[in-house]
């Protein structure tokens, strides 16, 4: 079993939900984001999503867009992220989160070759649907890179099946229609969607988009294997730039969520 799936399965085995926080690498600067990554891994977050900046993030709401802008202005890009992760050493498992164009530009073959050394065992490409994924999977599968596809509350069963068949690691259920961003309430259709996914696959299922607090985590851990927290974490970092203070903010925010997930 590959690392990301194993992490989610073992959380499930322990009666936990896995917690998967998201960080934009390069926000607020590369060094700080790497320190944040280490801190999240030390805290016991089961998997960390590492976001690679792209100039046109159409699936992201204002909070993550802003973090990506800051990262791009700092000159951060995929190649730089991979070498920085490699230098950081093997924590993980890490899930690379990006759009397709930076990956295509880097070269899919180069990418699958570079990922293992950077502690990245899986990839989630937000604008790559199973229909278009053959060229990526042709590289990823032989290299044993896990690929997570997304499903949404409006996906018909045929699409859920297709996403589940193409996925390894876990299936990512988008809890709501819309872009990334913290919301006041989790869409009740998320539960039903997770149940539909579970009826067609044995893979773990994660729920993300709109998760902002302990209550959300408590609700989701009831029916899903993992909870993804993105925008709410980025928002909690605020405009702080000092590494130590950033780490403290992340720990303060995620601590209770992690406790709720692992309770």
């Amino acid at each position: 079993m590959q690392p990301i799936r194993r992490a989610l399965e073992s959380a499930r085995g322990a009666g936990h939900a896995a917690l998967i926080p998201y960080l934009t690498l390069g926000f607020p600067h590369l060094k700080a984001s790497l320190a944040l990554l280490e801190a999240l891994e030390e805290m016991g977050c089961d998997v960390v999503e590492v976001g690679i900046p792209f100039s046109d993030p159409v699936a992201d709401g204002p909070t993550i867009q802003h973090s990506i802008d800051v990262s791009l202005r700092g000159g951060v890009h995929l190649g730089l992220c991979l070498s920085a992760l490699e230098e950081l050493g093997n924590g993980g498992p890490r899930l690379l989160f990006s759009y397709f164009n930076p990956l295509l530009r880097f070269g899919l073959c180069n990418l699958t070759a570079a990922l293992p050394a950077s502690g990245v065992s899986g990839v989630l490409v937000t604008d790559l649907v199973p229909e278009e994924a053959a060229e990526w999977l042709d590289h990823a599968q032989p290299a044993r890179i896990e690929t997570c596809f997304l499903v949404t509350v409006t996906s018909p069963t045929a699409r859920l099946e297709r996403a589940a068949r193409a996925s390894s690691g876990f299936v990512y259920c988008v809890s709501t229609l819309g872009v990334t961003g913290a919301r006041s309430k989790i869409d009740p259709r998320a539960r039903e969607t997770v149940e539909r996914v579970k009826s067609v696959t044995d893979l773990p299922v994660a729920v993300g988009f709109g998760v902002s607090n302990v209550e959300d985590v408590m609700e989701i851990r009831d029916y899903a294997d993992a909870v993804v927290v993105g925008s709410a974490l980025i928002r909690a970092l605020g405009d702080e730039t000092e590494t130590g203070a950033l780490v403290a903010r992340a720990q303060d925010f995620l601590g209770p969520l992690l406790e709720a997930a692992h309770a």
Binding site: P53, F54, S55, D56, P57, V58, A59, G61, Q65, D69, L72, H77, L78, G79, Y99, F100, N101, P102, L103, L104, R105, F106, T126, D127, L128, V129, E131, E132, F149, L150, V151, T152, T154, S155, P156, R159, A163, V174, L177, G178, V179
Partner: protein
């Protein structure tokens, strides 16, 4: 609109290696539904008749084919014809697509329309179609474009549309599309996104070209009727490329017809100074489609520049990328200065006031005409009228570089 076979269109909306659907999962189901609805509408005589009546009685089609005799004498070689899309209601070809899509959206039960706009012509066309057919309309427009096309912003508001300024990125067309896509991801159940060019995920490039191909079908019949032969050359400007694809499509099987797309050469060859995708662009994915893209070495999209807001876009329709790759259509550039000179030439020699976009197509005549003979027949798509650009041209004239 003929339910014509599309030999170029492969699985998942592929044109060779280009096209496809690179979108967030949330959009896949709506795109599948849209594709099915469009296929049905295309074969439904009722839908076709309603659209044909609107194009005739509301848009004023067929648009005229005008011979530019004084301009022809100026060059002294081939005869020059203009397909007069500037005479279509709202002043550009954009209305052909906007009416088609809004009619389709209404048929699908959608109550709300969103659109992006660069120069404002597509926004005006969409706002007009929504007013005429009774749907709610919101148009996303880059803040920079709102400033340089202020007149069109007010026109859209007069037509009852809500115009939303976009302050992210370069604050032009590309960023307006990002914002429209973000809206659509959240609103797909009741909303249709009217993309204004042969761009975006499948089925948009195919659907927009189908609605625009009325230009070429009319032009082909008009030229054959008047001259008893086909044109030797077609020339059209290419931003996303809808007026060009709309003109070219009916002639693709006519091997003797040479086709030229004119991109924005802007103010030079440097990064960010132009929108000449086929000069320095490389294969990439933006806004749901795989095409030729101006990007940096890390896959980030580069800023672009053109005096014409409608050509100021870093990618190009995937069908254009395909025909460029097989050598069927040639692509050239015209600079800001050349386009402005052509704008003046058409005003003075023909009494035509072309949009700055269309002026790029006309500018290419300077290079093309000296290479032609008297037997040649050149057809240029005058895709829109230039009233919206008068203020900008006035400023350019008073500040010559």
């Amino acid at each position: 609109m003929q339910p014509a076979f599309d030999p170029q269109l492969g699985e998942n909306g592929r044109y060779g290696d280009f096209g496809g659907s690179y979108v967030p999962e949330t959009l896949m189901q709506p795109l599948t539904e849209l594709c099915a609805a469009f296929r049905e509408a295309r074969e439904d005589p009722g839908f076709q008749a309603e659209l044909a009546a609107l194009l005739r009685d509301y848009v004023g089609r067929p648009t005229a084919l005008t011979e530019a005799t004084r301009l022809g004498s100026h060059y002294g070689t081939a005869r020059i014809l203009f397909k007069r899309e500037d005479l279509a209601h709202t002043g550009a070809h954009k209305i052909n697509n906007a009416l088609g899509q809004v009619l389709l959206a209404r048929r699908m039960g959608k109550t709300r329309i969103i659109a992006e706009t660069g120069a404002g012509q597509h926004g005006v066309a969409t706002a007009t179609a929504c007013a005429a057919l009774g749907l709610q309309c919101r148009v996303y427009m880059g803040a920079v474009d709102m400033e340089r096309q202020a007149l069109n912003v007010y026109r859209m508001r007069l037509l009852g549309a809500e115009v939303v300024g976009v302050d992210s990125g370069a604050r032009t067309l590309k960023d307006a599309i990002n914002e429209a896509l973000r809206d659509w991801v959240a609103s797909v159940l009741d909303t249709h996104y009217v993309i204004g060019s042969v761009l975006g995920p499948h089925p948009f490039p195919w659907m927009v070209r189908t609605f625009q191909s009325v230009i070429g079908r009319e032009a082909r019949a008009q030229v054959l009727e008047r001259f008893g032969r086909l044109p030797s050359h077609l020339v059209a400007c290419v931003g996303g490329g809808s007026n060009a694809m709309g003109l070219f499509h009916a002639f693709l099987a006519d091997d003797e017809v040479r086709m030229v797309g004119v991109e924005a050469g802007g103010r030079g060859e440097g990064r960010g100074d132009h929108a000449a995708r086929f000069c320095t662009g490389e294969v990439g994915v933006l806004h749901g489609t795989r095409s030729v893209l101006l990007q940096d070495e890390h896959g980030n999209v580069l800023p672009t520049h053109s005096v014409s807001a409608g050509l100021d876009y870093p990618s190009v329709g995937p069908e254009h990328a395909y025909y460029e790759s097989i050598g069927r259509i040639d692509y050239v550039t015209a600079s800001d200065a050349e386009a402005l000179a052509a704008f003046h030439l058409l005003c003075e020699s023909e009494g035509l006031l072309p949009a700055l976009e269309s002026s790029h197509a006309a500018a290419y005549l300077d290079r093309l005409m000296p290479t032609l003979s008297r037997d040649d027949l050149v057809l240029v798509n005058l895709s829109g009228r230039g009233d919206k650009d008068v203020d900008q041209v006035r400023q350019a004239d008073s500040n010559p570089r």
